[in-house]
């Protein structure tokens, strides 16, 4: 992704006409990676609208655009807002925060866009958020997450769990080659998922441990609140190193993306292999280890942080197909065309109606498959899809894949 603005303009061309770069506002207080992302917004995106559909499938792709309709609420509109703010064509006011923050950062637009900047679209939106936070402050609800992380190292405001009790309960050593990085949502809200992962690891006889992990930083990076990020990352790098880990496994799609991508973006090196639980478990299973599933029908929801953000589509499906005697029926929108659960990017806390209406659309899609189980591989997806499922009031069971594996192992 070239960000050198004049790189393709030859000297000969410059002789014809004076090249006048637009005058930009000062963005030097932003994280360098985010500065670069904003420059991407200046020189890319013609607003061809391709990201409004799943590419090739022609089904709706952007939850925020579908909800609000105005151009400013689709990826291209946000890129235009970034450009206009950078070049001073748009002044700051509190209302601008809506299109900037009512985006789930699901990254679906990235999968649909066919232009060279496609893998930077969410970066642009996150950079725009950092700019907004620096100029106006974060919106109230999103700010709460930063306050809580600052105080208790998790965005839920619960007292920090050092995980010592869990280590005792599961008789885990202080040092191990594998660290299970639980993630805040599993540790403080979706504890079933955490417990199932711990149980599966035990049943598989894995030599692993837990660390006094702090929030991976995902909810703050996604909402442009970057001040605490270096400390959070340094802390997690330190405790993981101290545990002697070579591999970090997480069952949270958000943590997975952050550990895999954002650490590098912020100039940090974890220096270990990072795996999602599904990819850690799969090679350790062999035929006959899992009980049968009595022809139960299940369908799978791709978490955006795995799918749209990292192209991680196959492994969960391979794991599902490894389970004996189940019927796996896909929803209409899957893989690159998949529809978000609605929870990410600070939307669950900042725009709860958008979060729920997005999840409801997914629940209805799952219902069409006649599945009994709607399976995902992310605690945050599980949480929001469960919330919507309750509101819709239907019998679908929303569950994480690791919970199924635990039941069958």
């Amino acid at each position: 992704m070239p960000t050198d603005r004049e790189e393709h303009i030859s000297e000969k061309a410059k002789e014809q006409v004076e090249i006048k770069p637009a005058k930009l506002i000062d963005i030097s207080d932003l994280h360098p990676y985010n500065q670069e992302s904003l420059i991407v917004s200046l020189d890319h995106c013609i607003k061809c609208n391709t990201c409004k559909y799943a590419f090739g499938a022609f089904t709706p792709s952007c939850p925020s655009g579908e909800e609000f309709g105005w151009e400013a609420y689709w990826a291209s509109g946000r890129i235009r807002l970034a450009r206009a703010l950078l070049t001073g064509k748009l002044e700051w006011n509190d209302e601008i925060l809506h299109p900037i923050f009512a985006c789930i950062t699901c990254g679906s637009c990235q999968d649909q866009c066919q232009a060279v900047h496609n893998d930077r679209i969410v970066d642009v939106i996150e950079a725009l958020r950092e700019l907004a936070v620096k100029r106006l402050g974060a919106p109230e609800n999103q700010k709460k997450m930063e306050d809580r992380v600052g105080k208790d190292f998790n965005p839920y405001g619960d007292a920090n769990s050092t995980n010592e009790e869990l280590k005792k309960k599961y008789n885990l050593p202080n040092n191990a080659k594998v660290v299970y990085f639980i993630g805040c949502t599993s540790n403080y809200r979706q504890k079933n998922l955490r417990n199932a992962t711990l149980s599966v690891f035990n049943k598989l006889g894995i030599d692993f441990t837990l660390v006094d992990e702090h929030c991976c930083g995902s909810p703050l990076i996604r909402t442009g609140q970057t001040d605490l990020i270096p400390d959070l990352m340094d802390h997690n790098i330190r405790v993981i190193k101290e545990a002697g880990a070579e591999t970090v496994v997480t069952s949270c799609a958000g943590c997975y993306r952050t550990l895999k991508k954002d650490f590098t973006k912020f100039g940090k090196d974890l220096g270990v292999r990072i795996l999602h639980t599904s990819e850690f478990i799969l090679p350790r299973l062999s035929v006959g280890m899992l009980k049968e599933m009595d022809k139960k029908v299940i369908t799978y929801h791709d978490p955006c942080h795995l799918g749209h953000h990292l192209g991680f589509y196959d492994i969960p499906r391979q794991l599902i197909n490894f389970i004996p005697n189940l019927e796996f029926i896909e929803m209409e929108r899957i893989r690159e065309a998949s529809w978000c659960c609605g929870a990410g990017g600070g939307v669950k806390i900042g725009y709860p109606d958008l979060a729920i209406s997005t999840a409801k659309k997914r629940i209805h899609e799952a219902e069409e498959t006649k599945a009994e189980y709607l399976v995902s591989t992310c605690p945050f997806c599980k949480r929001n899809l469960s919330d919507a499922n309750k509101k819709v009031g239907n019998p679908l069971k929303v569950i994480d894949l690791v919970e199924i594996v635990d039941e069958l192992l």
């Binding site: 070239p2 603005r5 020189d43 105005w70 807002l81």
Partner: protein, 490 residues
């Protein structure tokens, strides 16, 4: 760059207008917030930006009637918008006003008439949407697809006389409109074409636009300046069993121009799309390609369809015979091969030109995209290519010329294209497009989806009586100049 122009809407009566718009469309479908207006204020081209005062998301015909009556009474500009993908600044408000966005909520495929072979559409239907609908429900029927992104309006392109992958046999998209429903300036509805039978909308009677006087011309190519289209029936065609493509590689302008003309006249290929060889390189990942002397100038894609293998083979033989004649005349070689085979050898990225609807990746490289898109006299393609090439060389812009034979080579499309970084190179591209326009005008080309600045230049050289008549027609159709005012530079 100043975004606000002299809007006709006076700030003091803005809140009154907003209340009325909210009454018509519902509050959640009306906005005047600057951040919402901004994305509608400019497009990918060099056309001057301009802010609207309001955007309204339109849901139904009743709302259009009400807003038109109100706007006509108050002399408020109405700018119809579908996806804004026209590459000509055609939805940029020239005098502020209300943008009517049809893309989001008035986008139903109302009816597909299988035996009469047409689709009756609301204005917001996109190419991708129609493609999916036909593929899933009417696989024996086909529509046509331009090099435009799938999320571009079908009706928008039909009423702008767009061109696409069936244009060699069927011509311009404007010719394939069977009927229109339009809201006129006084809020009355008029139905053009066979759909005028009876006052009740019957979805079954949109089969043709003739033999009445063809009033379609009052709305096609007017860029939304004579009325608001609320329904449009477009022709579909039977899908033949075999759909394949050939790829021919031509050297120099003379050979390429002759190839486009002569193959078009055979009347056996669906489309002829020639692009500069540099563009193929762009699609394969080189943003600033240089053509080597040893390389040919134009790859030409020939989509073809046939009822069976025998039929297809006859067509291929005829193409090959025609190629032999051209080779002999110009003492040249034209490589012609199966497109799939070529793509398998060179890389699948090249398929974007063949598997439509698609995104032509070279077109979306930067933040700016512009072209001088013209309807051209086929006999002038050689000098057009050669002289336009000089402009590309002068400005050191990678050559990007796109050409088509239209309707068996009765006319052609000549479209030099420029991609650029909008916030860096606008001035340079303005100069380059102005130079290209002069070349095109010199050889009798007429710019389509005409931006205001090109329309103004055109007015300097065309028949003044035409212009007078055109202005009178506009006045008759829109006495208070509310429909997309300023378009065509009048």
């Amino acid at each position: 760059m100043k975004l606000e122009r002299n809007s006709r809407i006076n700030q003091t009566n803005k809140s009154e207008i907003k209340s009325k718009l909210e009454e018509i469309f519902g509050a959640k479908n009306v906005t005047d917030k600057k951040h919402n207006l901004l994305p509608y204020s400019y497009d990918a081209t060099e056309c001057e930006p301009g802010m609207p005062d309001f955007i309204c998301m339109v849901e139904n015909v009743g709302q259009v009637i009400n807003v038109v009556k109100y706007a006509n009474n108050k002399k408020i500009p109405l700018v119809p918008y579908i996806t804004g993908n026209n590459i000509g600044g055609l939805t940029i408000p020239q005098e502020g006003g209300v943008v009517l966005d049809f893309g989001k909520k008035m986008n139903q495929i109302i009816h597909i008439h299988e035996s009469h072979m047409y689709a009756l559409l609301e204005p917001g239907v996109t190419f991708g949407q129609l493609y999916k609908h036909l593929k899933e429900n009417y696989p024996h029927l086909r529509y046509c697809y331009p090099f435009a992104p799938p999320y571009s309006g079908v009706v928008g392109n039909a009423i702008l006389s767009g061109m696409n992958n069936l244009s060699c046999i069927h011509g311009s998209m404007g010719d394939w409109i069977n009927g229109l429903e339009v809201v006129l300036y006084d809020g009355s509805i008029v139905r053009i074409g066979s759909c005028f039978m009876g006052d009740k909308l019957s979805v079954d009677n949109w089969h043709s636009r003739y033999p009445m006087p063809d009033l379609m011309g009052l709305f096609v190519n007017w860029q939304g300046a004579t009325g608001i289209v609320t329904k449009c029936a477009v022709q579909l065609w039977p899908r033949k069993k075999i759909e394949r493509k050939l790829l021919a590689i031509c050297k120099n302008s003379a050979v390429t121009a002759e190839f486009i003309r002569e193959i078009g006249r055979l009347e056996i290929v669906d489309d002829i799309s020639a692009v500069s060889v540099e563009v193929a390189k762009m699609a394969l990942g080189d943003p600033t390609p240089v053509k080597l002397d040893s390389e040919p100038d134009f790859p030409v894609i020939l989509p073809m369809s046939a009822h069976n293998e025998q039929h297809y083979q006859v067509k291929v033989d005829l193409v090959n015979q025609c190629i032999k004649k051209i080779e002999k005349k110009y003492n040249t070689t034209i490589q012609c091969t199966d497109f799939d085979y070529f793509a398998a050898c060179i890389g699948d990225d090249i398929r974007v030109f063949a598997d439509l609807p698609n995104v032509i990746t070279p077109l979306v490289e930067y933040s700016g995209l512009t072209w001088v898109g013209t309807y051209a006299p086929p006999d002038n393609l050689e000098p057009l290519i050669d002289e336009t090439a000089q402009v590309f060389i002068k400005f050191d812009i990678p050559m990007f010329i796109y050409m088509k034979s239209m309707k068996s080579s009765h006319y052609a499309i000549f479209r030099p294209i420029i991609r650029y970084k909008k916030e860096l190179e606008e001035e340079r591209m303005k100069k380059a497009t102005a130079d290209i326009l002069e070349v095109c005008l010199k050889y009798g080309c007429i710019p389509y989806k005409t931006p205001v600045w090109m329309a103004k230049r055109l007015q300097e050289i065309i028949d003044p009586n035409w212009l007078k008549f055109f202005k009178r027609t506009k006045k008759f159709m829109d006495p208070n100049n509310i429909f997309n005012p300023g378009r065509w530079g009048i």
